[in-house]
Symmetry: none
Subunit: 491 residues, 2 copies
């Protein structure tokens, strides 16, 4: 066949070949039913890889111009193109590689967890019976009536200015150092996109927030987990890591950490910053829970201790108020805010403006403070209820009592795997999250996270009672199995 490829052309070789053949076919030079040369032979003639010819044939086949027959080789179709049956799109090939197994598992778990007959101690949600519905409905009506024309129009990508002002003032910043987010998850996503180049190291606490693990992983980060003890991140380990790798940033939840409930003490906060300065590493401080302190003294956020613009601060109204309006925010050097705003514009142009105005007005009227006083009292009781129930029904589970936040982090009795316990717990109609979801490296298989904020006290007690049942049945089964195994040789 008289056909030449041009190696200097920007068009890939297989497309050049397909193009030539297509012309020959459509002009009738190779007639319907006519044969194309065998790929191996043709590749030799053209001086290209055989796979290049295969690709070219595949292209023509996908256009309905040719067909392949075992034994008869490749031939030109009768009536090429016109009546070719349409093949379904191979979406699996077209879509970017599938998310990893953990994501799928989480989706599966969420489906299971949404079963109505389950007592969920899994979801990290506030208590819906405490939502200030009347106030929010009233404020929503008012802001729409007063400012609706503006609020339903386009809003600045950086956020609704009165809300930015309010948040900035609270932190002693300029509004230009704040960015309103469509939930703080969006902040994690933006930061991952802005800061992580595939292959970068990122330091996280072990355990840490699983939504952050997913986003950082998806951006191509190599995650290094630094263990936490009851006073926060292990600083010796952190220094080792900083000295050995050059991580893109340190991600920490210093106050009432998700999932471990732990709070980093002041000396470690200062030490963390000193290390960040020494190793010139930015810090992302994720702080959804610090306003939910049930006892003890408030500690300054890292962002306040930071004197050199190293800390990017992230927070949200989802935990202190409710998640449905999707309003989070971040505080960072203005240069960073501008960069993230540009990314955000591509992702969603701007955040729902009436929702921002409702939250701003809710805060302005002092209702947030009032709401916080109420939920703190209630959540303290729920925490104490859960602590009491755990002691009663699950005396072998070890845990520390958190001073605030949402979670009690539990170490199961030795040899009890969290996943096996979860299976039993489903049978008892109670759910929780298993520990290994929160580790970057598969640890945590004998740990579980329990949420004490979402359910009323009586349900918490019942949930923990069921957990105790599940735990006992699991142990019994194991003993029985062990006994069976022992007896087998005898019988």
């Amino acid at each position: 066949m008289d056909l030449k490829v041009d190696r200097k052309s920007p068009t890939p070789l297989h497309l050049q070949i397909a193009h030539h053949l297509r012309e020959l076919i459509l002009k009738g030079v190779i007639p319907a039913g006519g044969q194309l040369p065998p790929t191996r032979k043709f590749a030799r003639e053209l001086g290209v890889n055989r796979s290049t010819v295969v690709q070219a044939y595949h292209k023509l086949w996908s256009e309905g111009l040719i067909e392949g027959h075992v034994g008869r080789g490749t031939t030109v179709r009768h009536n090429p193109g016109a009546e070719a049956p349409v093949s379904p799109l191979p979406w699996e090939m077209l879509l970017a590689p599938q998310p990893e197994a953990v994501e799928l598992e989480i989706r599966e778990l969420m489906r299971l967890f949404s079963r109505e007959d389950l007592i969920s101690l899994a979801a990290g949600l506030p208590s819906p019976d405490l939502y200030p519905l009347e106030e929010v409905a009233e404020i929503a009506g008012e802001v729409l009536a007063d400012e609706g024309t503006t609020l339903l129009q386009r809003c600045a990508v950086e956020g609704y200015l009165p809300l930015r002002r309010l948040l900035a003032e609270r932190m002693g910043l300029s509004p230009r150092e704040t960015l309103i987010l469509s939930g703080s998850q969006q902040g994690l996503y933006l930061l991952a996109q802005a800061l992580i180049t595939p292959g970068d190291f990122v330091v996280v606490e072990a355990p840490t927030y699983l939504g952050a693990l997913q986003v950082f992983r998806a951006a191509g980060a190599r995650l290094i987990g630094v263990p936490v003890d009851e006073h926060g991140m292990d600083m010796t380990m952190l220094e080792n890591v900083l000295a050995r790798t050059q991580p893109k940033f340190i991600y920490t939840l210093p106050t009432f950490q998700n999932p471990a409930g732990i709070t980093m003490v002041t000396e470690r906060r200062q030490r963390l910053l000193d290390l960040a300065y020494r190793y010139r590493t930015p810090v992302i401080e994720d702080d959804p829970y610090s306003l939910l302190r049930y006892e003890g003294e408030a500690l300054p956020p890292l962002a306040n201790l930071d004197t050199h613009g190293y800390v990017i601060y992230l927070s949200t109204f989802s935990k202190i108020l409710f998640p449905g309006l999707r309003i989070g925010w971040l505080a960072a050097p203005q240069r960073v805010v501008e960069h993230l705003a540009t990314l955000k514009r591509m992702i969603d142009l701007f955040t729902n403006a009436p929702a921002q105005a409702v939250i701003a007005e809710f805060c302005r009227r002092g209702l947030l403070e009032r709401h916080l006083e109420g939920v703190r009292d209630e959540y303290r009781q729920r925490r104490d209820t859960m602590v009491g129930a755990l002691k009663d029904h699950c005396p072998k589970i070890e845990f520390a009592v958190p001073e605030g936040g949402y979670f009690i982090w539990c170490r199961l009795p030795r040899g009890i795997a969290a996943r096996e316990l979860l299976r039993e717990a489903f049978r008892e109609r109670v759910s929780f999250l298993t520990g290994e979801l929160f580790y970057p490296d598969g640890r945590g298989q004998e740990e579980i996270r329990l949420t004490f904020t979402h359910q009323p006290p009586a349900t918490i007690t019942e949930g923990i009672r069921r957990l105790g049942q599940a735990l006992r049945r699991l142990k019994r089964n194991r003993v029985e199995k062990a006994e069976e195994a022992l007896l087998k040789p005898i019988v």
Copy 2:
């Protein structure tokens, strides 16, 4: 203490005070153990509120520089943070490469365009005076009162089911083939992330929606622009492109296209699908405007004509209602919806649920239909007003009259560059968008986009009058300059 505050500075007073004190401490002017003046006295000296000084001291305390003792006042800490000097973070190096010049230019333009004294014919926005504020405020109050507890809780990432059902029903689909978006820009972003591998070809119309160009480019696509004429995309050119490259998808706005106002005729719609099937190429149909038809017969969306699941359909309430609530949606094969939902979960967990419920209820009550009837009448008039004004004030500008949508796309008199005209237009206090923003390749330098929906008729007429002024002055200047140039050698 020798310290002055500047009341005209945008920096809050307490931060100014903290800043001065910080310098004095770090330089050793106030040594370790040294006392700061009592707040009351210091406030009097400075002529500020005592709370301002307290805030300043609190800031320094939170930075670990000072400490307070009952009875001994406030003193500078020993060892105040300072060992090695800390260098500022090189954010420029840490952040991913800057967005391209076009993005910066758009940001700059948006700043200019937001000037209050300008008549904006630039922004693609609906008319705020037509917003159904009362109905929306009422519905918002009602859905929060009725379903608030659920709506303010977590919502499925795929969207609020009643809204998905409603949209699915309209298109004859299953709700599982729909995905609610935080605005349709999010759909473009998700699709770009899911489908584009850097280096992929993507076919767009030339001109096309600039937000799509940005997102596809940012994902690493090589954009191929297929020209449009008054009947839509050039199909011969499209086939050429499909035969020569293997684009990842074809992106089209077939109805009242942004920016050109053009509608693809039915034969070309069918032809586009045939080509997509032959070359096995997915199609993204972006359809924000089709319900805004002012004359002529409605045409079926590509998604309806498609019999093989090749079309991903994208739309939004931003153009037919208002953009502030950020609700868009897409329809696609379930496999694609699931994939995109997984990505969306990482980006913002889910879309504001009360906003989804408000829109669903607005539609359910038949208010959307009523609203559309009203805006169609009004926008038809505004289009006709703009057409008339263009004929009166800018007789040399060529344009086609669109049957619907938002835009009139204009070809300037030969030799008049859109950017130069924009400069003159700013002096006349009227704005528009220049054509090259909408092309993947820098064409469009003598074209401009005018929006006729956003301003009331009288303002449109005045805006076009100013545009005519700008045009004439530009021509006069050019003639003068040309004459000067001619005269120079003589004088």
